[in-house]
């Protein structure tokens, strides 16, 4: 169905400078040639020849991309519904996803959220949209398989700015978001300095970037024994998450493999996870939950990586 997708604006678009989006209305701009190519490729990969209707759920800041995808999909004869979320929060986007069953659901939102089964999230950052950052799933899968082979098994020594940690891990495997590989951590000793980003599986609203407030973790036998951070709010949260709620176990290590434009995003989301970096995931051991409601607490701290594996 998507073969020979027509571009709805091809015929009527005024000429714009190459690479420069032309205004299309008060907020929506026209796509650049590269963005048009990505939009077509996204639709081919996600909608393909399923014959299914398309449901485009989008956060308010992703209206432009949703408009592009919707216009191209309709031009290709795909029944398309656009669903804006009320606010750019995970809860609002999740709410807007309700009732999308029976259609191919594409979610344009930058933050980490619960993606309904079968749906696909396209995330961007403040300076680049999901359309700009998109890459075919097949290519990312190949890159991840190659990285997993190169990383092999343990032990692994990870040097971060101001620290070094030695990890005993299981085998690395491709993970989600696409463009990442993950392994279980069996043992971890040393100092890990996260200077890139933090992500928590809770609805925190702080700036996820750590460049100005790096987090230092000291690990002994796979467990965090000390936490340090110059930001008092983050320091208190991490200290309590580790020492009271027992999210102290280095559960897994993840490598982000993608060289992407822009820096780490203030919004914790799939782009930060996939961007070149190494992430330690802290979790609560199953036999040591503090409270049933915090037993699934996970804290991901990411350090920048100069060379992707």
């Amino acid at each position: 169905m998507t073969a020979g997708l027509r571009t709805p604006d091809q015929a009527r678009a005024p000429a714009s400078q190459p690479g420069q989006p032309a205004p299309l209305g008060p907020r929506v701009t026209r796509p650049t040639p590269a963005q048009r190519a990505s939009v077509r490729a996204i639709l081919r990969e996600c909608v393909g020849s399923t014959g299914q209707a398309l449901c485009l759920v989008y956060a308010p800041n992703r209206r432009t991309e949703a408009t592009w995808l919707g216009a191209y999909a309709r031009a290709a004869g795909v029944a398309t519904q656009l669903r804006p979320a009320a606010t750019a929060t995970a809860a609002a986007v999740e709410l807007a996803c309700d009732g999308g069953a029976g259609a191919t659901v594409l979610i344009l939102a930058d933050m980490t959220m619960r993606v309904p089964p079968g749906a696909r999230q396209l995330a961007g950052i403040e300076t680049h949209s999901a359309v700009d950052l998109w890459a075919p799933a097949g290519l990312l899968e190949l890159a991840a398989l190659a990285a997993a082979r190169r990383l092999g098994g343990s032990p692994l020594t990870v040097s971060t700015s101001g620290g070094e940690v030695t990890l005993a891990t299981g085998p690395f495997t491709p993970d989600t978001p696409p463009g990442t590989v993950t392994a279980d951590v069996v043992d971890a000793n040393g100092t890990f300095v996260a200077d890139a980003a933090v992500a928590v599986n809770r609805a925190v609203a702080w700036d996820a970037r750590l460049a100005q407030r790096p987090v230092t973790l000291r690990l002994v036998a796979g467990t965090v024994t000390e936490v340090d951070c110059p930001d008092p709010v983050l320091a208190r949260f991490l200290t309590r998450a580790v020492h009271t709620h027992n999210a102290s176990r280095a559960g897994s290590v993840r490598f982000g493999l993608r060289r992407l434009p822009g820096g780490f995003s203030p919004v914790a989301g799939p782009v930060n996870a996939a961007r070149a970096g190494v992430t330690l995931r802290l979790r609560v051991p199953a036999d040591r939950p503090y409270n049933a409601a915090s037993a699934d607490l996970r804290v991901d701290v990411t350090a920048t990586l100069q060379e992707v594996p």
Binding site: V204, R236, T244
Partner: protein, 451 residues
């Protein structure tokens, strides 16, 4: 020609912010309309100096529609009190606070109630039910709200369910809106109880008190059997919020703050975040411990100090993803149950009060009774209580609330405490500028100093 002046009920932030378009603005709060809005720097300066001629016509029209500027000869206090009087004498909005039990399974130091065990008296339950049903059936009634109060209302869950079934069915049959809320210590909550309250009792708001991290909470909120309730309450609420099990019930986490736990509020906020108590249906509500007629002067946090610390707590709560109430967006219609004879409190013995801080409180539990259920015919409003003349007192300056710019959204907070010589002002009286800063941050504005 009409002369316009700045409303006495307008607050303009002392701080400037920058919006996405780079323009410098100030937050403003017009309490007569309960509206938050922004004004540009020139308008803010004109409002501050009183030189409204500097404001252009379209902006002046907007400010007038918000009652941020008013006619110079308008008696604004009279207008505000007129609104309260009309809201308080409106027979269409009926409010009942029902105490299904006089007992509580906790014995908190700062509580002013004296609890006692008593068997459920089915006749009294029937009379209470009949009283509310009569109000629902009254053709003059437009809506009914019920607050389940205690003691600990969940100790009488069976009674709450029984009455709720009758109220919900009658309201549905009459096509009248029905809402219910419940303050609770939370110790008896289970996933099933929450669903019952949500599905059957149509609870729209649940207020659970958590006074600190585990150790402190379990010390302060002492169950009579000595067993702590922190873990159980947090687990049940956290699970329910994350599963979206009670989507139509707003959950408020009330923290009673005094000198004994003020330094632990930050840790509690982290615990709430770690337990997943964030999201659009949850709010943190920090409240200073206040007198119920008992002496709490040794433990209460001085009002200005509380207000200053509250801004820091709320700012951290926001970063942790926790919700908290914005400045009111609705003008109050009446101050409390005690200022409208269409609102009443019914205790488990069938006594009717006008003020919720009278039942179970030594002394007031006898002197505050305005009627018994047996005295009241059908849906007739309760007799006047001690505070039904509240607006007269504010109007003739016997109480200082008439001078306060928050009067339209506060109503004077608690007439009882004013009469007893306390100052029950909400913290916003002292930290309104900080609250406006928080709202500016919430809407994506940045302080001008930050560039």
């Amino acid at each position: 020609m009409t002369t316009l002046v700045r409303s006495r009920y307008l607050l303009v932030s002392p701080h400037a912010y920058r919006g996405p378009d780079g323009r410098a603005v100030r937050m403003a709060y017009a309490t007569r309309r309960a509206r938050l809005f922004t004004v540009d720097e020139d308008t803010a300066a004109a409002l501050s100096s009183g030189d409204l001629a500097r404001i252009d016509e379209p902006e002046l029209t907007r400010l007038r529609s918000l009652q941020a500027v008013v006619d110079a000869d308008e008696d604004e206090l009279a207008g505000v009190l007129g609104g309260y009087r009309s809201g308080s004498t409106d027979p269409g909005a009926r409010g009942f606070t029902i105490m299904p039990t006089s007992y509580c399974n906790m014995a908190c130091d700062y509580c002013g109630q004296e609890h006692y065990k008593a068997a459920v008296d089915e006749r009294k339950v029937e009379r209470t039910t009949a009283r509310v049903l009569a109000a629902i059936a009254d053709p003059g009634t437009r809506s009914v709200s019920v607050t389940w109060f205690g003691g600990e209302p969940l100790l009488a869950l069976r009674v709450v369910r029984q009455m709720s079934h009758a109220f919900v069915a009658a309201a549905d049959a009459a096509g009248k809106p029905y809402s219910a809320r419940m303050p609770t210590n939370g110790s008896l909550l289970t996933a099933r109880t929450l669903r019952v309250l949500h599905d059957e009792c149509r609870l729209t708001a649940l207020e659970v008190t958590i006074d600190g991290p585990e150790k402190l909470h379990d010390q302060r909120r002492v169950k009579r059997n000595g067993i702590g309730s922190f873990h159980r309450t947090m687990a049940v609420l956290g699970q329910a919020v994350r599963e979206g099990a009670v989507p139509r019930t707003r959950i408020s986490i009330r923290v009673n703050v005094d000198v004994g736990n003020e330094d632990a509020v930050d840790d509690l906020l982290v615990d709430l975040a770690c337990c997943g108590l964030s999201g659009p249906t949850v709010e943190v509500n920090l409240m200073p411990v206040h007198s119920w007629g008992n002496d709490v002067s040794a433990v209460e946090v001085e009002a200005r100090r509380f207000a200053a610390r509250e801004i820091d707590w709320l700012r951290r709560a926001r970063l942790l993803g926790l919700g908290f109430a914005a400045p009111p967006k609705v003008v109050r219609r009446t101050t409390c149950r005690a200022t409208s004879t269409y609102g009443e409190i019914i205790d488990s013995a069938g006594r009717v009060y006008s003020c919720s801080e009278h039942p179970l409180v030594p002394g007031a539990r006898d002197t505050g009774v305005v009627a018994t259920l047996a005295d009241l015919a059908g849906s007739a409003p309760r007799p006047a209580g001690s505070y039904d003349d509240w607006y007269d007192q504010v109007g003739d300056a016997r109480q200082q609330c008439g001078r306060c710019p928050l009067l339209p959204v506060c109503g004077g907070a608690c007439p009882k405490l004013w009469r007893e010589g306390h100052v029950p002002c909400p913290s916003m009286r002292h930290n309104w500028a900080g609250r406006l800063d928080l709202e500016a941050e919430r809407s994506g504005l940045r302080p001008v100093e930050a560039g």
